[in-house]
Symmetry: C2
């Protein structure tokens, strides 16, 4: 039985906690959130509508006074800078940890100073730490790296994640710019709220796996436009207005595009799918028709990684060097 | 630069060596084979038609007298019993090792005594050891385990590897029973020469990854029959005669079939493909159309695993607990 303390109970944190609560083999023994509305409530009640006798506390210390834990799940922020003090606190409490912080998935090149500090504090406290999720963490980086294992050489890696947003809830549709005008889209694109965080980290992880030194990485974001007036199921979209977003990450060596990550989510896509194409010896492509549901996958892989991180070596790890976080749920 | 000693220079061993010779980052510094026809020859000449100044020796000791090595590649036999003394010798020479021995990929349940002895001798000498290949080692066990990482629960795993043998060379066609009569097929099936080794090991590896305890495993082998008279490109096949082989491995819990591995290779298959279907939350299937070429993949993953095994913890490891053996070839 793995005892978990969870930090961060926003929408994703709640979903991860609800998954952990459904599982055999793991147990939530503590939960921490800054939100005074949540502090004092039962974490089971908040996340799964059923009390488990574990009260949400405002600080990690309070949680640790009440129960011993084996591992922490950190579902707070996307920013490495903001997550660093939380990691430090967990490491000093000797807790190995799994986090959904996107920037943590491969921070060695984007933010090397913070990465080194995190690695150091984890090593000196004998705990391992990893950033995971569906993306970054699996579909567009870990899985392509795994697939490259059967290659004698790799010339290029192209990944496409295409999602039809027609079937998704309204917050998701809003997140990808559905219903905005051209100007509204530009404004949100410029202030960063439309951006999926993690393409750059995924590119760095693939390059690291393949032993490639990239010259540069490029990220673009643009609207996917409606060819005629359509409805999202919730919102009407005028012709030429955004029906979703296309974000592309590219990694170059000597001017050649070696890594391409397409992330496209829009209302009215003909098909959802995840596809990985490897050019090399051999060349092949692997496709998941229908695609992988992001909410389910991120929550599941986070819980699965809890067992893997306990077997990993101390320090800031990546998905490439922890044991396979296979689904360890008892049937 | 990783210095390799290779043991076993049969057809697969030669292909693995030729792949290592093409790579940057690795170097063959020794080669061992019992065949007196090969001893004394240059391993580069034998495997890639180009001398590299490394003579094939009859024993490991002779190879080690001539050069220091970091790791061994063991491409000798499929049988765990026969490979055990070779592993012992390598471990006592402090060489971590990667082997294509099928039974080594997950011997903990089929041959636990030998597995424990191998684990012990590796640990006491501080070296790691792993069995890999395309299958067992990747397509039908490691990759399904990796895919389960995004699942909250898994109810069943079905894997199909289907290969059209029309495009393959005559030795491969003969290996899968093409051109045999019904009686000839039965005879070869009974003496084990048609059998692909490793389905049971693959089932055990998946079950281990998913934390499942199987009640029993079943393996069947039967001919795929020609519906009419056809030709393989080399051999005529009469109506109703074998045009290939279908081998099925099944793993059961409480009488339910939870793991199914279909391995089908026959002349006149409409399509080659590798497909993994996971039933669970979420359910999805992942497909590689055209399939992965087995000879290329086994040789490539063996060379790729050489870098991974150097970072693995000492002992008998599985693909689940070594770092991802991504293709580390420099472009």
């Amino acid at each position: 039985m793995i005892r978990i303390i969870q930090l961060g109970l926003g929408p994703l944190g709640q979903k991860v906690a609800s998954y952990a609560l459904q599982r055999e083999g793991v147990k939530i023994v503590g939960a921490v959130d800054l939100d005074t509305e949540k502090v004092g409530k039962d974490v089971g009640q908040l996340c799964a509508g059923k009390s488990i006798g574990v009260e949400i506390t405002k600080t990690l210390d309070e949680a640790l006074e009440r129960a011993k834990a084996d591992v922490a799940v950190l579902t707070t922020v996307s920013s490495l800078e903001k997550v660093e003090p939380q990691i430090k606190e967990l490491a000093e409490a000797q807790l190995p940890m799994v986090s959904t912080c996107e920037e943590l998935s491969f921070p060695w090149i984007t933010q090397p100073m913070i990465a080194k500090r995190i690695d150091k504090v984890c090593k000196s406290n004998g705990v391992a730490c990893v950033g995971t999720g569906v993306n970054p963490g699996f579909l567009m980086d870990y899985l392509p790296s795994v697939l490259s294992s059967v290659c004698q050489n790799v010339q290029a890696v192209h990944v496409s994640r295409v999602q039809d947003a027609s079937v998704r809830r309204i917050p998701f549709q809003q997140k990808i710019g559905v219903g905005l005008t051209e100007e509204g889209f530009k404004e949100k694109a410029n202030n960063g709220t439309l951006r999926h965080v993690g393409l750059t980290e995924s590119i760095h992880l693939i390059a690291h796996a393949l032993n490639w030194e990239l010259d540069r990485i490029e990220e673009t974001l643009e609207p996917v436009r409606a060819l005629e007036k359509i409805t999202s199921g919730y919102i009407d979209i005028d012709k030429d207005n955004p029906r979703g977003v296309l974000q592309i990450g590219r990694g170059f060596i000597d001017g050649d595009e070696k890594i391409t990550l397409h992330f496209r989510a829009a209302v009215g896509e003909e098909e959802s799918y995840d596809e990985i194409e490897i050019e090399g010896t051999p060349s092949f492509s692997s496709r998941i028709s229908g695609g992988i549901n992001g909410d389910i996958a991120t929550s599941a892989i986070t819980v699965n990684a809890v067992a893997a991180i306990l077997k990993a070596e101390p320090g800031l790890r990546t998905m490439l060097d922890i044991p396979v976080p296979a689904c360890f749920s008892t049937i």
